[in-house]
């Protein structure tokens, strides 16, 4: 029992690491993001872990998004920027194939939260 406690204390910093602040989009809801991803069909163009049928090969696979430096080759990867990109990509990069999907800023933020939460 004592050993277990020591072990748990020793592991605590590691657990904290997996929820590092850079993997969180403030104000975004991961579960609602997952629902939005299915509803607007992100998976038709992207491979996304945890989304059934998301095996599109049009844009990049969306794994490890939180650890990327640049979004779509143009924007520094911050929670606000990825939200802007999801909300209206053509306004940032007019030549992109990614459409404006008619999402609200809150919906885009939820999707960003999901993508940041997935490794």
């Amino acid at each position: 029992m004592k050993n277990c406690l020591v072990f748990a204390v020793a592991l605590a910093p590691l657990t904290a690491c997996s929820r590092a602040p850079e993997h969180v989009v403030p104000g975004g809801n991961v579960e609602r993001g997952r629902e939005q991803i299915v509803a607007v069909g992100c998976g038709a163009c992207h491979v996304i872990n945890g989304i059934p049928g998301a095996r599109g090969q049009v844009g990049p696979a969306l794994s490890g998004v939180a650890s990327r430096a640049v979004i779509a080759g143009v924007l520094p990867n911050t929670p606000d920027n990825i939200t802007r990109w999801i909300e209206d990509a053509p306004s940032i990069s007019p030549q992109t194939a990614m459409p404006n999907l008619g999402l609200s800023q809150a919906q885009a933020r939820d999707i960003a939260a999901y993508l940041y939460a997935r490794q």
Partner: protein
Amino acid sequence: MSQTPLSVFSRSSDAAARITTLTWFMILLSTLIFGGVILTMLVAVFRNRRREATAVDMSQPRDRFVVWGGAILPGAVLVALFVVALGAMRQFSPTPPAVTIRVTGHQWWWRAEYLGADGRPAFRTANEIHVPVDRPVRVLLTSSDVIHSFWVPQLQGKLDAIPGHITDLRLHARRTGTYGGACSEYCGQQHAHMAFTVVAESDDAYRAWTALQSADAATPTDSATTAGRQLFVTTECALCHTVRGTNARADVGPDLTHVGSRMTIAAGTRPNSLGDLEGWIANPQALKPGTRMPTLRTYTGPELRALATYLQSLK
């Protein structure tokens, strides 16, 4: 309106109700027979535990009972089931059909042509069949390539679609609803992505739907949709697809005149949203490997967006 699963226990049509009754009858009968056999066996085992095994002796009444019983009882059950099943397979009601639809199976989608009074197609659509509720509908079923099978379990038993041959099926939905359908004869790589939907709706809703589907595609009003239409009719799209009211009149793939009004795309492969449409147009081979629609790699980003916007506008 959400789609109900492919359940074989349904009373949404008389045909399905007969099949459901037959299924329950068979389950009950098999359970009784199975129970009887197990019980008889247990009795025999416990009564004869201390006896040596003996050869079957047909001069003994007990042995004769077992041997003849074992032949007569299953024979009688199978003949009775056959007769009952024949009744459940009855397809044709004497009432003349209110609607006749020619349905053609293709690898891997369904073409539906609604026939007018003159027997010629009034309009075409794909993978989504609307019918008026409580009216007999005649489906003339055929195939353009290999054998497919048309199955809407909640409305009717399955029937093969055979190339060069027309089979006649009746649908008669007793309840409004959205019924799932599937190809149920293995027909190649994307057999599993050959789904369709039957929507049974009120007379008014059905009339509104046929009026919409019969009309030509609306002319776009905004610039993005206009650009999409221009691309559609002048590039590869028009080599395979029709959009009535434009110069795209090809007959290889599904008629897309009102594709925006459908619930799914690519025969149930994806839901019908802007994102799904664009992903499908850009790289169909990634979503449905082997589909006859090629991945073209000729359109720029803005062109892909324009095409998806145009197709979505075709309500």
